[in-house]
């Protein structure tokens, strides 16, 4: 079958593709299919960091990386968050595009799944890793297009941590779903772990939450109100005390 290659050129009312007048087939009036000429795809081999997921998710990740690469220049693409948990309970796919940006709709239209793009410069990411325990959590379990190598020196900025801890200052837990409770607890435990200079990873923080409250109990919202409030308040007060002490020492 004859195949012709043409280039789409801009027209005033309609764009067009010019093909040679002298050709062996495809006479004038015949219908043709037009589709983009795929350039040779470079196979993406993602790097997995403490992630073991279903093959279908690996394919989705490769597709995501290819689409992003086609649409934007970037230094790296990192997939993180609940999508990397076993099963299909995730709400959306968290994607860090380092040194680039892409509209969420482009991926959502293709995947049919909600995505959350975090477009961030490489130096901002490094700063996040140095100062914010949540960034440490985020990258402790991820899949990336390129190898993730960061030589991070932890910087404890107590005022920033105070700001982050405010996210976990909850006056009443009754309106919170299990997942939301887990998030505020995770934030608080990650901050406490960060201040005490221990390793901040998803595994370590979850293990601490499990020890204190029971990981599944908290996520499923099965934990007793009084017991939860008492433990939570104790840890929050202790973490806040550490931060306030830090601010006091910093100001001397």
């Amino acid at each position: 079958m004859v195949e012709l290659i043409g280039k789409v050129s801009k027209g005033s009312k309609m764009d067009q593709i010019y093909i040679p007048k002298n050709r062996e087939s495809i006479p004038v009036g015949s219908y043709v299919i037009i589709k983009p000429l795929e350039t040779e795809k470079q196979e993406i081999k993602p790097y997995f960091y403490k992630v073991s997921i279903e093959p279908i998710k690996v394919e989705i990740i490769k597709n995501i990386m290819q689409i992003i690469d086609r649409n934007t220049d970037n230094e790296n693409i990192i997939i993180t968050g609940s999508f990397l948990e076993k099963g299909f309970q995730f709400n959306d796919i968290d994607i860090l595009v380092i040194g680039g940006n892409i509209k969420e709709e482009i991926l959502e239209n293709y995947l049919g799944v909600k995505v959350h793009i975090i477009s961030i410069a490489n130096n901002a990411l490094i700063k996040g890793l140095e100062t914010d325990p949540l960034y440490n959590l985020m990258l402790s379990r991820c899949v990336s297009k390129k190898r993730v190598i960061y030589n991070i020196k932890r910087k404890i900025n107590y005022k920033l941590l105070d700001l982050h801890l405010l996210k976990s200052k909850i006056n009443n837990f009754e309106s919170l779903k299990g997942k939301e409770k887990y998030e505020v607890v995770r934030n608080m435990i990650a901050i406490k772990t960060f201040i005490t200079k221990k390793e901040v990873s998803r595994e370590k923080v979850d293990s601490e939450i499990n020890k204190l409250f029971g990981l599944e109990e908290i996520k499923e919202n099965l934990i007793g109100k009084t017991e939860f409030n008492k433990k939570y308040k104790k840890i929050y007060t202790e973490t806040e005390r550490l931060i306030m002490e830090g601010i006091k020492n910093e100001s001397k």
């Binding site: 975090i118 100062t131 914010d132 700001l163 405010l166 996210k167 006056n171 919170l176 939301e180 505020v184």
Partner: protein, 114 residues
Amino acid sequence: MSQNRSKLIDIFVGNVSNSVVHRILEKAIDEENIRKHYDREFLTSLEIAKRYREKINPKSEFPEKDAEEMKEMIRNKVKKELKKRESKGYKNINFDLIDSVMDEILKEMRIIKK
């Protein structure tokens, strides 16, 4: 004011106060808050406050006297939190921002008129 409504208002006030403190401290820190890139998904006090606002009558703006009473409660809570930090040596906290930040949130919450 029924007991239930009063409890809901207390929780609402707590969450709004927390948001006001957060916004003021954000302006006081000398380093860029990198978390803003990641914050969109994070549950905030403001969102919790919105949930409680939906449960509190009237759904439209509060009568002036009630709104003033609420503003006083928030103002006191915020001042207490900010003063606690100031006493530890936290600098650059702008107490003058309390009313404007609080009003901004209360307008958004339909407690006072826009």
